[in-house]
Symmetry: C2
DNA sequence: CTGAAAGCGCTAACAT
DNA sequence: ATGTTAGCGCTTTCAG
């Protein structure tokens, strides 16, 4: 019986099988020559002893670990989730393994920064998903010893390779669509500034308004934080305005869903009274009632580009690209419709009664 | 300037600083004696060369990696997410690191099974979160060389340490509550059988009915798969019944939210026409309209118990426990209310028109 | 306080 | 087809 405590090594297996360590290694790995007889003898010994090769030792010898590290700030984000899932598929395709390291919102602080440093050697390359980091940290990454790639990074210019989605044009498309539907009072619900994505979406929104000759109304811009709760609050705030919007463009689906709750709460109908557009096309978007019109990131294509580019760098292959940008696809579902006849959605009785709580 | 390609090792640092490798090691790690002068000299050299210690080598020498591996089947599950987040906090408390390995639903197949074997040595211990695995795989885990703990495992008896929540009693509490509110036709929406959790929740449901002397109606039991979409389908199916239920108890919040969409779709009100109870208390539960009555797992306490127990095993400390079970807490929000006066929720016109599509 | 030697578990490269 | 040697980058042990 195998001794569970003291881990059994190749030496043990070799001794048990009565061969040299090297022979045991070959018999088990399948590399190099080994007679059928020896091979089965060794395999039997390994099985009997409960041998598991030490990945650490193997990696150290080879210099390559065959592992890609994925660093995320926040596992609970559905967008992050979609990226990680897509990455997992791509990593498997190239026959590597993948670990996820979650900094739980501490990236840039001591612990988060440490990932690329402290655990250096454990992976052949690192992909930062939706990173939000300080300038200092970005700089330190640029000198990292193993290849690093940023997935959906926007905040600063950097020589590091970046794969990202388009935010500006997508936002512009969405808002133009609302304008074509006759909307004039279109609100924007932004997310946190830290990743730089919300900002681009806001600029696309403003550009679309400007193109149509509509003056932007600052009171229709609400600063949220990408979370559903902030979407709920945004919705409540906007609907309580003297002149509420007839359409809301939220910088994330999560916030858009929050807005929808606020709208329902007020007894208004989507899209008859008010239209809603999100961004990201998370799974919940198509399941919402009504299904949410939104902008879809090509998650799988982006993940593939990220893995391939990182691989090129790991292998020092030619043909690298410093930045790849993917357009987002506008998906029209049922949460958007023509602007209501009255210039602005008329708050109904219930709503009117609450006017007092408008800020 | 550091050469980015050829990774710089301690030998390089030592040479640069004009000391022995050992001295460099001591100066950087802080362990053992080192004069202030040497220390700063070495640190300067390390910084200048962009030195990062190779975690692999360090781990190999010490035998301990200070890393706990977390294995999950499905990262997109909100319950898994809640556990992982809680685990992350606890792991940090004991000053270890944590990697997440997602099998993407392939646990038990080649790839998934490989985790504990192939990457053996990379972690000091492994926590399987909400594992669903074959008997064979479970057996192989029992002979694993490093400690393994199962978080929320129910399917088979096993000598492996298990930390889990209570499902049976929680379900019973929830259904008893509905009965007290006057409900008699209470539906159950189950999840996949694979983890064994749904089964326990169903048994709790049946027990509560039996206690109240209510005969279980098989037509009120719908088999879902824990996903929101299956909840939506469950809701549509149940509401289309000749005698629809006045309350639905879903085996997960996710499915409960799907049911709520189906109910709204049919023009019914929650909880006036129909009550809904979920299970898990995922973040979205409290944000729903109306906020969902549900059963909360004590995620943090469970995570703490899991990490502590695993640590005891890693360190071969005494006082181990084979199984720890945590009761779930019944959280009453606004999705449950008294049963409507009419024995069953009367389908309104729209609903009646659709009767044809009842299975 | 600092250095030299040994070795963690494995495999590439060279023998035999 | 199998065995021997060496060494990955680091730290533990023992000597200066």
């Amino acid at each position: 019986m195998a001794n569970k405590k003291a881990s059994v090594t190749l030496v043990d297996v070799a001794r048990e099988a009565g061969v040299s360590v090297m022979t045991a290694s070959r018999a088990l790995s399948g590399e190099g020559y080994a007679s059928e007889e020896t091979r089965s003898k060794v395999q039997a010994a390994a099985k009997q002893l409960g041998y598991a090769p030490n990945a650490l030792a193997r990696m150290m010898k080879g210099g390559k670990t065959n592992v890609i590290g994925i660093v995320v700030n926040d596992l609970s984000s559905q967008v992050v989730n979609a990226f990680v899932t897509a990455l997992s598929v791509e990593v498997r395709k190239v026959e590597m393994d993948m670990f996820i390291y979650s900094t739980m919102g501490t990236l840039g602080e001591g612990r988060g920064a440490a990932v690329s440093q402290m655990l250096h050697g454990l992976w052949d390359g690192l992909i930062y998903v939706l990173p939000c980091m300080t300038d200092d940290f970005l700089k330190s990454l640029e000198n990292a010893s193993s290849p690093v790639l940023l997935l959906n990074y926007f905040r600063h210019e950097t020589p590091l390779p970046v794969v990202r989605g388009d935010n500006y044009n997508g936002a512009q498309d969405a808002v133009s669509h609302l304008i074509e539907l006759g909307h004039r009072r279109i609100a924007f619900v932004g997310g946190t500034a830290f990743t730089g994505q919300s900002d681009l979406r806001e600029r696309g929104y403003l550009a679309a308004l400007a193109d149509a000759g509509i003056a932007a109304d600052p009171s229709l811009i609400y600063q949220g934080n990408f979370q559903e709760l902030s979407g709920l609050e945004a919705g409540r705030h906007l609907l309580a305005l003297e002149q509420p919007p007839t359409a809301i463009f939220a910088a994330s689906d999560t916030m858009a869903l929050g807005c929808m709750n606020a709208i329902r709460e007020r007894g208004l109908a989507i899209p008859q009274d008010i239209s809603v557009v999100g961004f990201d096309d998370i799974p919940a978007a198509s399941l919402a009632q009504p299904p949410l019109t939104t902008l879809r990131h090509p998650f799988q294509a982006m993940a593939q580009a990220a893995v391939q580019e990182l691989l090129r760098r790991i292998r020092s292959e030619p043909g690298r690209r410093q930045r790849v940008e993917f357009p987002s696809e506008f998906v029209i579902r049922e949460s958007t419709g023509p602007a209501p006849r009255t210039a602005a959605a008329t708050p109904r009785k219930r709503a009117a009664a609450r006017k007092a709580d408008s800020a």
